[in-house]
Amino acid sequence: MKTLNSVWAFLALASIACAAHTSNWAVLVSTSRFWFNYRHLANTLSLYRTVKRLGIPDSQILLLLPDDMACNPRNAFSGTVYSNADRRMDLYGENVEVDYRGYEVTVENFIRLLTDRWEEGVPASKRLQTDEGSNILIYMTGHGGSEFLKFQDSEEISSWDLADAFSQMREKKRYNEMLFMIDTCQANTLYRQFYAPGVIATGSSEEDESSYSHHADNDVGVAVIDRWTYYVLEFLETQVTGPTSDKTLGDLFDSYDVGKIHSNPGVRWDLFPGGEQAGRSRRVVDFFGNVQNVEVQGNQTGVESLKEDLQGLKRLVQDYQAFAAAQESNKTEMSDVVQRRNLEAVSSGKIRQKQRHTVGKLQLSENAQWARQVAGATVLSGLAALWYFAPKLM
């Protein structure tokens, strides 16, 4: 077993040397409902497809969609969601797992999800079960304003709430590094209040600036994708082609073109250890892809020694049982005799005891019922008397 573990350790070494994080999670939130906000759900679903393509499994993706565009009666292409007017790729049709849908997407649930403060019985698929080695990608989109983001047209989350939630995650060591992306109007204001270390934040527009949609599909009838998300996806699809791509966050953020996006996207580096330099060198797949250090078992000698160990263990278990039995028999012989006597007594009086028990049970229940009936009859007759005699008394 020793040589086996050292082989594993060596292989783990080789793979761990490059990545300091041990798992990847993604939280993709759309915050608007209604048909005309089709593009927000399309944004989120395109990010979902990208993240899946690059390897993050569904069990580590939390997808929050407040409305169902695919089955909306206004959808001319029902069962589908497209993020491009050419309708080449359906984002929704197969292999999609939505974790929070409809009215479950609320500010409270979102903050509970981040800080992991749940009641008993909330299933694991709705929880963000990260640990100190997890990198988290958080993407939010919807309608927002200066330092707030609107959820489902009825409530809002402020940048202070988000900042506090992230600091609680940091206290409990729930993430290693986090990439926060947001595509709303005045998006950059939402990460202004963050103070937890280890977060890189990027938004689509500055304060007092709106973010725009990219294009509309004439047959679907509404805009299908937002500009900033469209160009981010373009980068991800053309440059980050597989889970082993070397493109860095610096490349991603350098690809922002204000002329195309029509607003000023921003990046916040100061919370990241090592600042901009360290942040720019992080690979895109460190957040969008999935790392899984698989340890391959090489030789079989470890298994042989384990077989011997297990046989010795079986013998030991038998020894235990024999020893325990010997101990018990050694204890007292009196207790044995006493036990035997008890057994006899019980077996002879058993039948009688049983009968008594059952008779007793019946009687109890009968008693209770009769008492209840008497009480009910008394109350009824009292009320009837009151009804009959009260006017006479008045």
């Binding site: 077993m1 569904d58 992991d116 078992q297």
Partner: protein, 558 residues
């Protein structure tokens, strides 16, 4: 206000003649004292209701209940000042056929040698000469390990059984596999007295506990529980192997759920004798590990399991006539979307063991880089490929599954974090007990510190009483766990530490401690002004007018 104006207006018509010139009319008669007092009483009544009923009611309904947390003791635990971690190890020494005085002499020599080289300041060795027969005292300790109470014997970590073997060429030592016994064989003809034996025994004992000492130093290294002098620096290889073990193993939990799944690519084999195979190979291991955690076992079979579309899939290799699976495919091999894994069985993590049987036309399926057929996914579980042999029937028999289960047992012990050395598995389990107890104490302390910081920083979240209760329970259990560690009662320390960790997590992750914690001032103004404004304005104006009048009359009188 309205009363006074009514009086003024009622006085003018009584005048008569000069109604056309109201500004030069006779002054209105002074207010009667009775009506002034009535007016003042009315205003006082309104304000009395506001002050005695309204304001306390508002304070009561809008204040946040924050129960008192013992912040100083929480911070003391988080800073590591509340507990001095110390690990006493009681080692029994038995030397058959020699009398007790010689055994005691040897014991004291070994003890003095071990305490002299005090680089292991966290560990303290106490060598106790055992007068009784070595076998029975070992058995008593084993019973105690299995969960019973140890009567009369202290919980010994190790037994050193010195055997005088005339046929031994030199002094040698070996660890027995499933008992915590170190057998030292020496040739009585050569080593007559104990002065040459003692250094050998001391160095052997130190070797046994070396890895554990490294592991615990690594755990405590960057925490405030040790000072820098106590913990020595580790070499990079040791550090990286300890890190690898930590990232590979699951976090400690009181219950682990093991699932063994058979995924068949085609329709056969469709069943397996899993229960029998598990009984043979896995249950003994789980029995031994039951002192650390509980285990539940589930099995399932899934037929026609397909690969995930995101992996490349096995490639046929002409030269070896095998289908090869690339390393990059290994992490995506488990088709998380289609294969029913990762269920919510209960509290506690799920360790998944997957046995995959490829179809006839894709077998034999092996791994490209090593030619083996199994791999381990850290903090998730293990996967194995069983290539169907020619005589495959519909049902995988227990004999077929025996090697499979052995590999799974091996992977299980790695996933639970069992250390690599010493060579005896039972010593490894006790060393894991100590490591887990330590890490649980550390984690509970840091949670307490995080909760203390949280309660100070977020002043507007409510802290219910259950949190205060959990915190008190945590501190109590941490004290007991520290006490147990210092006394050498490691299993009880693990229990206490486990409870402390559970309570601390419950306190920190209290579900009612979430809420939208931030209300900007504009929101408060926007809510209160329309609500209370129309009510407050007349009351305040009336009160101010009365005060002015009161001061006016006082000036006149004075």
């Amino acid at each position: 206000m309205s009363l006074s104006s009514a009086e003024e207006s009622s006085s003018t018509p009584a005048d008569g003649g000069s109604a056309t010139d109201p500004s030069h009319g006779p002054p209105p008669p002074p207010e009667q004292p009775k009506s002034t007092w009535t007016r003042r009483l009315i205003i006082l009544a309104f304000w009395a209701v506001i002050v005695t009923l309204g304001w306390p009611h508002w304070v009561f309904t809008t204040s946040i209940h924050r129960s008192d947390l013992p912040l100083e003791s929480m911070n003391r635990w988080a800073d590591g000042k509340a507990c001095q971690l110390h690990y006493p190890l009681y080692i029994g020494l038995a030397w058959d056929d020699y009398d007790i005085s010689q055994v005691q002499d040897l014991a004291s020599q070994v003890q003095s040698l071990l305490s002299a080289e005090n680089d292991l300041s966290l560990y303290d060795f106490y060598i106790i000469a055992d007068a009784t027969n070595a076998e029975t005292s070992q058995r008593a300790t084993l019973l105690a390990e299995a969960g019973g109470e140890l009567r009369g014997h202290r919980e010994h970590a190790l037994f050193v059984n010195v055997i005088a073997d005339p046929s031994a060429k030199s002094t040698s030592a070996s660890l027995r596999t499933w008992r915590p016994v170190l057998e030292v064989r020496h040739n009585p003809g050569r080593t007559v007295d104990s002065t040459t034996l003692a250094p050998f025994i001391a160095s052997e004992i130190r070797k046994v506990y070396e890895h554990e000492k490294d592991a615990i130093s690594h755990l405590l290294k960057d925490t405030p529980f040790t000072t820098s002098g106590q913990v020595e620096a580790l070499s990079p290889e040791v550090k990286s192997s300890l890190d690898a073990r930590r990232t590979r193993a699951f976090k400690y939990a009181a219950t682990y759920h093991l699932t063994f799944s058979l995924f068949t690519s085609s329709a056969s084999p469709s069943a397996w004798e899993a229960e029998q195979a598990l009984e043979e190979s896995i249950s003994p291991l789980l029995d031994r590990l039951s002192s650390i955690s509980e285990f539940t076992v589930d099995t399932q079979v899934q037929l026609l399991a397909s690969f995930s579309p995101s992996i490349a899939g096995p490639q046929y290799n002409e030269s070896t006539q095998e289908w090869k699976l690339q390393r990059t495919d290994l992490s995506g091999f488990v088709n998380a979307a289609e294969w029913p894994l990762n269920p919510g069985i209960g509290s506690g993590p799920t360790i998944n063991f997957v046995l995959f049987v490829p179809s006839e036309d894709q077998s034999p399926l092996v791994l490209a880089e090593t030619g083996g057929n199994s791999w381990l996914i850290p903090q998730w579980g293990g996967v194995q490929i069983l290539n169907p042999s020619g005589k495959q029937s519909e049902r995988l028999s227990a004999a077929d599954l025996r090697p499979v289960m052995l590999t799974f047992a091996d992977q299980l012990s790695a996933l639970l974090g069992l250390p690599d050395s010493p060579a005896s598995p039972s010593l490894r389990i006790t060393s894991l007990v100590r490591e887990r107890a330590t890490s649980l104490v550390l984690s509970a302390s840091s949670t307490l510190g995080a909760l203390a910081r949280l309660s100070l920083k977020l002043t507007s979240i409510a802290i219910p009483d259950s949190v205060a209760k959990s915190v008190d329970e945590t501190i109590l259990r941490l004290d007991e766990a520290c006490h147990d560690l210092r006394e050498g009662r490691y299993h009880r320390a693990l229990e206490n530490a486990r409870t402390a960790e559970g309570e601390a997590e419950q306190a920190f992750f209290e579900p009612s401690m979430v809420g939208q914690v931030y209300f900007p001032e504009e929101h408060k103004v926007a809510v209160y002004v329309p609500l209370l404004g129309p009510m407050a304005v007349p009351l305040v104006m009336a009160a101010l007018k009365e005060f002015r009048k009161l001061r006016g009359t006082k000036a006149k009188v004075a």
